[in-house]
Amino acid sequence: MKSSIKYILWAPVLFFFLLSSCEVKEIKEYAALKDQVKIFPDYTEITLPPNIAPMNFSIEEKGEQFQVKISAPKGDPILLKTSKEVQIPMKKWRTLLSQNVNDTLHIEVFVRREAKWYRYPVLSNFIAPDSIDPYLTYRLIEPGYRYWREMGIFQRDLETFDEQPILTNRLSTDEYKGTQCMNCHSFQNYGTDRFLFHLRTGKGGTVFYDKGTYTKMNMRQDSALSAAVYPAWHPSLDLVAFSTNKTSQSFHMNNPQKVEVLDTYSDLVLFDVEKKKLIPIFRTDSILETFPTWSPDGKWLYYCAASNLPSYTDKTTHTAEMYKNYTEVRYHLMRIPFDQDTHTFGAPDTIVRIHNTKASISFPRVSPDGRYVLFTASAYGTFSIWHKSSDLYVVDLQSKQMSSLKAANSKDVDSYHSWSSNGRWIAFSSRRLDGQYTRTFMTYFNKEGIASKAFLLPQKSPTINQTLYKAFNVPELSREAVKTSYRELERVAAQEAEPLKK
């Protein structure tokens, strides 16, 4: 009995001793190295949001032990005795960032080799004054060509590492075991009160979530080319503009771009969510209209259009001609005025002509302040997501000047993108890591219209970028988390789609 009391008394002492021995002491004696430390992801010289999750990274240098110091002018530095994979404590990271908004964050990496400590040159990053929208929604799918297996739409909390599925194809109804595919998720005006996505194959349709109610529509209509494809919610009305596309896929025999997708015909339609009616906007064979997007005031519909088609009059040879001349098909950036009272459109206007750019435009998105249109420019065609030449550009609607987001772009594909609701951040997909698996990158877009060096979406374990055999598609930022229920969506996905009203 006596001895057990003794142990109980000694236990706190031992506990505090262990705790103090775990405390990391800053390394004072070291030799300075000249070469910059290699870390993955490349979190150097970047601008980061003050509300971003810890930017964990891997040290790609040899060493027996590693120590990392993360510091900023204000507050306590974070000292970490670490393996090659650096895991930054969430609480300390948040405190440090919040104390040093609009200031510099330093990262020092120490490595121990043969009983001696070395320090690499300090890495510096800037903490922006503007927060990024805290939620990012994306689709995780194998970047394949004809097949998919398990896939789904997920939402990531950018302030933590929490990732939640919105819906996956594990729903596996008896008839379509795990084969349902979903795509093109879209929010209305950075909120999540209204949300849609398409379900393909099986019991396909377009699922609309509108403030608690779920509807699944069959968006096929005899007069339209196809079911609805690329969506764009009107910022305030119960309307969604869609493209309808006749699409075909082909494969490069000797080209790392691997796959080519062509629209042989495409038009735009407007869907009235309340009336469940589809209204044509354009129905032309001679022009391919696609990628609709609204201006923030809802008065303009922007889109891309290709009119220099090789042949469209003879439908029997049109597809073959398109394939023969696929590198000649390029898309302009256009817009058309929209009357919000009568729901009617005016005359189209060209914003960026292709002969000025020698490029083809896709995925236009107007900045929340209405000043810039961000788009992807690639050498030709509509399938910029597989074109190595794809880069991000903006056109300033005031000066009509077009500029590349040079610091954010890479040699590989930089494509689908979305704005943060404050217009200061852009999330986009890029294949720069390996040429195949898209990852989400983020860049700061300052008031002068210049983007900073892009950085990879932080992950709890950065090695997931290496081990995950899925691509992050269609990264969409939103101010709030989705409000849909997984089980409810599962139910809706399994039911038959409602036909359109005539």
Binding site: Y145, Y147, K177, F251, M253, D434, Q466, Y469
Partner: protein, 612 residues
Amino acid sequence: MDKQKNKLDAARHPLYEMKWRRAIPSVLFVSVCYLFLMLFRSSYLQMTAKLSLFLNESSFFYSYLQRPGGLLHYFGQFFSQFLLIPWLGAALCVLLLLCLATLVRTMQLFHPKNEQFSYIPPLLLLGSITNMGEMLSVNVNGGYFFSTILGWIFIAALYSLTSRLKLKSIYGECVSAIGAGVLLWAGGVYGVIAFLFLMLRAVLKGDTTDRIYALLVYLISLAVFLFAGYFFLYPHDPLSSIWMAHLKEYPFAIGKLPLIFEWSVIAFLALGVLFSSKLTRVVLPQWLGSGLLVLAFLAVGILSRQGQSENTRCRMIHSAEKEEWEKLLSDASRPGASMPLIAVALAKENKLLDKLFEYVQPTSRNILFETPNEQLSIVNIHVLRSLGLYYYAYHLAYENMVFRAPSIGSFQQLGELSLINNETELAKKYLTTLSHAWLWKKEAESSLQLAEHPELLEKKFSAIRQLQPSYDYLGSPYSGFESMVIYNYAYSQRNVISLQYAVAALLLQKRIQELPNWMQSMQATYNPSLPLHVQQALALRTGLDPTFVLPDGWVDANVNSQLKEFLKLYSSAKDPKAAMNLTKLYKQTYWYYYMFAAVNSGKDENASYDQR
């Protein structure tokens, strides 16, 4: 001396003698199963290993835990990796089957003297897992080969252990139900089967009240475990996937052989449980047990022809991977031989246009390429690779990985194809993953070295990169193969292999009227004499169309005279004797194929190549 005496005494002891005698069936069982696997399934085992995936990483383990039935599949994948070394994989498989036989014995369904019966379920399982065909890995979890055995081991172990519980009956049933519930999460459908067996056992014993209580315990437990899984453990899985895990993606329809074998296991054991109270009391005649065992052996052996064909096909794929063309051709006459791989081997040895029709019958289909089964033929990847169409080979290999689920084989193939295509960062991704697999670490690391050193990469692949087309165009690696190879040679790919394929495609499509257009290339490659089948086709062209004048030196006089003989016999082919002679003498000529094969002459389905 004393020790020796003790040994002798012990040997004379009836128990010792009994144990020794009892070991005979086990030894026989082990020997026969092991020999069966080694002699008739060794290539199949290796292919199974390549289509599985086990990574030495915690994240890999957690990814399996996150899905219903995942634990069973994780262990299945763990064991499957050892199938790469067939003697080791076969030994593990046989040991697990023996373990199952022992557990079945301890289930106390039969009298101890009828222990032969305990070997029947593992034997039927052997029939199930060795007949899965190429689709054996079509499951997101993979590892079927072993997870099937393990599932049954868990069922038998649970049944056996709970039979020995000294608890009061209702508490015993509760413990059994909890065990089955855990097995439901860990092994999906095997948990359900365990519930069924335990319920069956419960309703056969005790009084009516006991039975009702026991049934209630099981039904409530089943519901609790199912719904707990649905709401808490697997909130993003449908209810069906919890109880159907393993079965739900089983790649075979109910009527297919592997499931027939597994249903037989269920039926056999269910009958055992049903009549256990009687069967444990009576000794069934020895001949019955032995007879049933022999029948089961025969069923596995006779009904396993599909597996045998698959084994041949797997062996040919391995030969193609190792570029052992002669070995590949030595399998050509076996059932299940892959004609497209034979064509690859012939083309590699520059004999495709001399020997192709020795292997082709007029009824043969899918000669140069396999008809893509859901466009996912593994063989077609090898054919496209041999032709130098590495991007297309990559496409197919990638789609294979997506459709079948990632595997060692897919990472190896994609890593190498990415290296050939000079996509080193992509190659590193696949190879780094591969380096986390125990048995592949060394190979992956040496390939990673290539990715890091462009000069080594160039040295290793410069020769095979020269097979690539000279320029790019849009096409499809999924259909219209014969048009593709013809178009390919004509426009972008000038090498001997693609020439052989293009001309072979023309011959197979009976487009002999186009042959003269190819003579320039042919004569530049084949000097002084053209390949036999080309000569036969040219001679036939003249025979069928007298206006066509055959230039000197294209066809040997011998071929012309043979053709005359052939045509003479052909014209009298209505006479059965003449027909028999025709087959006997000319079966291996192009003429025979031309006259009897039902092929639409002209271009195949994907004529769009010519338009592009």
